[in-house]
């Protein structure tokens, strides 16, 4: 009953957006999928060789690749856990009223503005065994001269990630805390509820969605971490901090084994989708 042009209007509005998504996401994705079925090396040239699932088989049966997944998981779990705990603590801290609160929050969230790559590069300087400020402070505290990036590379990387992303967690959780209705807290006070009960009954239900969201976002992002590790350790020493994203990069842009890199990238994609689905399902259970 509406005119033709009217029904077209909303579709017209979406078209540019869809076009961008199709050309710059769907198309490359499909192309990458296609590439993953071939053995192709840009450097060596020659014709691409169709190997079907060959790349996938090779990768999935490679212990090296599995180790990389384990390393990545190590990183993701430690980083997100640390950021969550610290972020929660910070949120509780900043939930209090005090003078200069606004400024304090702004200062604390500064790390989010620094380019991860810049942070990675600069933390090289901070961690440097010969003249890094971190090494110096650690020396003052423990009397030992530590070479972070050599001796404790994973810790170095996790600490860097925590430095940059804990404020992110904190902001989300803080927003959740601020959303807790005051009258509920007050009646909990009047009813003399213990801290634990107060948390369980009043606070948690309100902050739950934001906490879940923050965890989801941070986990997804942690999985894709590239810039910081690339800059700080380049995956080293050896492969101690080589995250899966770095591996894909190496295979694809150092060795130029394009097909293989695409295959690995897709494996990672599938894992991320599965994890997200699992996560959302679990998140629903937590409500009950």
């Amino acid at each position: 009953m509406r005119s033709r042009s009217e029904r077209l209007f909303p579709i017209l509005l979406i078209t540019p957006a869809l076009a961008v998504v199709v050309f710059l996401v769907i198309f490359p994705l499909l192309w990458a999928l296609g590439l993953s079925f071939y053995k192709y090396n840009v450097l060596r040239g020659g014709k691409p060789l169709f190997v079907g699932l060959g790349n996938y088989v090779r990768l999935l049966s490679s212990s090296f690749i599995w180790e990389r997944f384990v390393t990545t998981a190590e990183f993701v779990v430690s980083a997100v856990l640390l950021e969550f705990i610290l972020g929660f603590g910070l949120a509780l801290l900043f939930y209090q009223e005090f003078k200069g609160r606004r400024i304090a929050i702004t200062l604390t969230t500064m790390p989010l503005l620094v380019a991860p790559i810049a942070a990675g590069i600069f933390f090289r300087y901070i961690y440097d065994a010969t003249f890094g400020i971190f090494t110096y402070l650690a020396y003052l505290l423990t009397g030992a001269k530590i070479n972070m990036t050599k001796d404790y590379p994973m810790l170095a990387v996790v600490l860097l990630d925590a430095w940059q992303w804990t404020p992110f967690m904190m902001l989300f959780i803080l927003a959740g805390l601020e959303a807790v209705p005051k009258y509920l807290l007050e009646s909990a006070e009047v009813d003399r509820l213990s801290w634990l009960d107060k948390f369980r009954v009043v606070i948690w239900p309100t902050i739950r969605p934001l906490v879940m969201l923050a965890l989801l976002f941070r986990t997804m992002d942690a999985f894709r971490t590239f810039d910081t590790v690339f800059a700080l350790t380049e995956g080293g020493p050896g492969t101690q901090t080589e995250l899966i994203s770095l591996t894909i990069y190496r295979i694809g842009f150092k060795y130029f084994r394009t097909g293989e890199a695409c295959a690995l990238a897709f494996i990672v994609l599938v894992i991320v989708i599965l994890l997200t689905n699992l996560y959302l399902r679990m998140a629903k259970k937590v409500t009950v």
Partner: protein
């Protein structure tokens, strides 16, 4: 300025049917009221007429021409929204001037009209306000009214336009609407859940319930000749008295028996008896059609008075006729003692008989 015809108008939201097969012919240059409780479908009907909503079925005609394919901006209707729907980013002046600007009127014309309507609605001093959301409820309503009335459309659609105004302004606005309708020969469709407002405003009233048209007629018709139980009870305050009971024949008389009271209604016998399904009937009579007396009257029934509620120039007396609770409207001031014995005489000519199964008013 146009005749509006609704034909089999139907609109649902998911499972809820808001407007159900509504057929209505609203005459040209008239002030018609859509009367119904909240949720009856008045707003939905109005929005279908203005084109903001598309009906699922049915047709809407302006002067016998379907406007269904026309989008709202081409239908030339002015609508007052129940929620005011003021443009928050524009000043009061710009809000009112907006529809005129869209129609392409000259700056001077616009200025003149805006100021005129602002003066009438006593919001002239608010014209410069930049943020209409800072106004009081009543002020916002008047600005929204101004925005609606500043135009000269084919049809005016007013969805509860005076709900938040004080009594004095309400009276003035009702007068203004009637004047606009008559002088400028406008067609106005007015929605309200307030039956008093409807009776005062409307030339014709369409009573709507759950999306269905109950009755369409003049205020007198609606009040004195309701077609069903809903219309009878909805219109009138205090509401019409309903007595439930049986129809019986007693010694060649037809009587109503219910709640411990027997009323001879032989003189009312007529065709309606045939339409009656079953023996149960509802006898209905309006509070003002009952005479009350402290001394025994001929043909009156004995009743026990409970409470008297003075309204100023009238008094509502609540009493028990047998087991039935009855309300009587008496002119002037009457005081009673709780439990006092009084006599009620029913004006038999004003009795309505309602079939409890079909809820139709049979008399």
């Amino acid at each position: 300025m146009v005749k509006v015809t609704l034909r089999n108008l139907t609109k649902s939201y998911g499972k809820v049917i808001a407007v159900d097969d509504l057929t209505l012919e609203i005459p040209d240059k008239s002030l018609t009221v859509l009367l119904g409780p909240t949720g009856a479908g008045k707003t939905t009907t109005i929005k279908c007429i203005s084109g903001v909503l598309s009906p699922d079925r049915g047709d809407i005609l302006f002067d016998d021409e379907s406007v269904l394919s026309l989008p709202p901006w081409e239908r030339d209707v002015a609508q007052f929204f129940q929620t005011y729907a003021l443009y928050p980013h524009m000043s009061v002046y710009d809000n009112i001037a907006y529809p005129l600007k869209q129609r392409g009127l000259s700056k001077n014309e616009i200025d003149r009209k805006v100021k005129e309507i602002a003066r009438k609605l006593r919001i002239y001093h608010l014209l410069d306000r930049k943020d209409p959301t800072t106004l009081s409820g009543g002020e916002m309503q008047r600005v929204a009214l101004a925005r609606t009335l500043v135009r000269e459309p084919k049809v005016f659609l007013l969805d509860e336009p005076i709900s938040n105004l004080d009594a004095k302004l309400r009276e003035e606005m009702i007068y203004e609407f009637k004047r606009l309708c008559r002088e400028l020969q406008q067609t106005m469709i007015y929605a309200t859940p307030d039956y008093l407002e409807a009776l005062e405003v409307g030339e014709k009233i369409a009573v709507i319930r759950d999306g269905k048209l109950q009755q369409y007629g003049t205020p007198q018709e609606i009040y004195y000749h309701p077609v069903n139980k809903f219309v009878a009870t909805f219109v009138g305050s205090p509401p019409i008295n309903m007595l439930e009971g049986d129809l019986k024949t007693q010694n060649s008389s037809i009587v109503f028996q219910g709640g411990g009271v027997t009323i001879d209604i032989s003189e009312l016998a007529g065709k309606w008896l045939e339409k009656l399904k079953g023996d149960k009937i509802i006898l209905a009579i309006r509070p003002e059609d009952i005479e009350i007396s402290k001394e025994k009257l001929e043909g009156a029934f004995r009743a026990k008075a409970l409470v008297a509620q003075p309204l100023g120039h009238e008094t509502v007396v609540v009493c028990n006729l047998g087991e039935n609770e009855i309300r009587i409207l008496v002119k002037g001031f009457l005081s009673i003692r709780y439990g006092e014995e009084i006599w009620l005489k029913l004006n038999k000519q004003k009795i309505h008989i309602i079939d409890p199964n079909t809820e139709e008013v049979l008399l």
